[in-house]
Amino acid sequence: MAMHTDREFENELAKLREKILLMGAKVETMVATSVRAFNEQNNDLAHRTIEFDHDINRLEVEIDGFCLSILARRQPVASDLRFITTSLKLVTDLERIGDLAVNISERVLDLSSDPPRRSWPDILKMAETVQSMVRDALDAFVAGDSAKAQWVIERDRSVDANYSQVFHEVLLLMMDDRSAVQRGMGVQSIAKYLERIGDHATNLAEMVVFLTNGTDIRHPESQAIEGTETH
């Protein structure tokens, strides 16, 4: 794309992009460390993940303010407008993913007094998939690659399927062993948090499609009929 005639505006957009990528990278790290803390039953890693959330919250506020400033001063249109409005939404989803990584870490701490756990292969699959979804959504954002974003959206189905499987297994565990109810609830919560991370990654990918093509692909069943005026 050609450069803006106004170089300062061009710099502001580049700076915004950098801040979002920085926030995205930090959120990716949080998800990875929270999942590792769960796998390794590593309380130290869980604590560090929880601490890390301050950085994410600070970046969310900073990026929001920067977007408002650009909107007020530049009154952007077309792809610039889509970029700014998408950025405002992206940071909200990224911040929520960070919160969910914190929630996973908190459950890891809750489960730390329990005996060594059985393995949960579907949770591991979910964790791998949602991490790749977040990473690919951010890559698609950087490259303006709507095909990659679509691929992120498609993967959410397998995350949902894995979650159903975990839910079923946790239910069986708790029915078999009443003393495992608290542990089972903790594991089920972690699976739910991962499933929600998948949903937020899907939101990110949908925004990338809108940013790239100008097409809103959310809630196709609820889209209004085309062909009439709103004025």
Partner: protein, 287 residues
């Protein structure tokens, strides 16, 4: 130098059925009645020259009835020439000529027998700089169009009040109608010029950068007025301000070097333009 009247072929042109243009689509509110606006004016392959310099390259554009259509584009793209062709003001410039067709209610306005003065009553114009007649009172300025046409309205007082009301100026000047028109502020003068155009009860109102000489408050008043008038009149506005086009118009056309690059619902054009040149222009990446 030759004028359009001397150079344009004025034989009876065959009246073909004008092309049908579907109104650009926008998303409907659930309760909105899906009423498609009809085409009030239509240009077909409109070309225009100043001497040998061709400034319009064949523009076909619908102007929808009781809608505001904005024309945007860089300086020299042909915006003003385009609207001056709509009411045959282009032809009064020495050396100017045109080709193609301009239809008003499916009737070619360049057809033999069409009276340009009568046409300009139906298709009125407001110019860039407020140009009230400096020696006339506010009241006489409003009635100036009638007087110049050699006509006398049945009830001039009612007409003056109605036109000034429509131009959102009545409350500010009703006690001083005999004051000189030039004594008003710039914004008021522009609204007086709009009242003068409205007094002739036009069907279409052409506005050539009507706010470029006004301050932000006066601009806001004129924009609010355009919004209100757009419900009763067909309005075509030329503007250099993209924000203004985005604020006041229902549809926007982007012209570049005499060509129509893109025409769409304003919401769509300013959020997801279809053409790269439109995108580059409205985001400030041009040239």
């Amino acid at each position: 130098m030759l004028t359009l009247l001397e150079t344009t072929t004025m034989e009876e042109r065959p009246m073909t059925q004008p092309p049908t243009f579907a109104a650009p689509t926008a998303r409907a509110e659930p309760t909105a009645a899906p009423v498609a606006p009809s085409v009030k004016m239509q240009t077909e392959a409109l070309c225009a020259w100043f001497g040998k310099n061709k400034v319009l390259q064949g523009i076909s554009l619908p102007i929808l009835e009781k809608r505001v259509t904005a024309l945007i584009g860089p300086s020299g793209c042909g915006k003003s020439t385009f609207i001056r062709c709509l009411n045959r003001l282009h032809e009064v410039i020495p050396g100017a000529k045109m080709d193609g067709r301009v239809l008003l209610d499916n009737e070619d306005v360049y057809v033999r027998g069409m009276d340009p003065v009568g046409l300009r009553r139906r298709v009125g114009m407001v110019f860039q700089r407020p140009n009230p007649f400096p020696t006339l009172s506010i009241r006489d300025n409003v009635l100036a169009g009638w007087k110049l046409a050699g006509l006398r309205p049945k009830d001039p007082d009612t007409l003056v009040e109605k036109a000034l009301n429509q131009a959102a100026l009545w409350n500010e000047v009703k006690d001083s109608l005999n004051r000189n028109g030039a004594s008003l502020s710039g914004g008021q003068q522009q609204r007086l010029c709009i009242a003068r155009a409205l007094a002739l009860e036009p069907e279409v109102l052409l506005m050539d950068e009507p706010c470029s000489a006004l301050d932000p408050i006066a601009t806001a008043k004129v924009e609010e007025l355009i919004h209100e008038l757009g419900q009763k009149y067909t309005i075509v506005i030329v503007t250099h301000s993209m924000q203004q086009a985005a604020r006041v118009s229902h549809h926007t056309a982007f012209l570049y070097m005499g060509d129509l690059v893109e025409y769409n619902a304003t919401d769509a054009l300013f959020t997801r333009p279809a053409d790269r040149r439109t995108e580059d222009y409205i985001t400030g990446r041009f040239g």
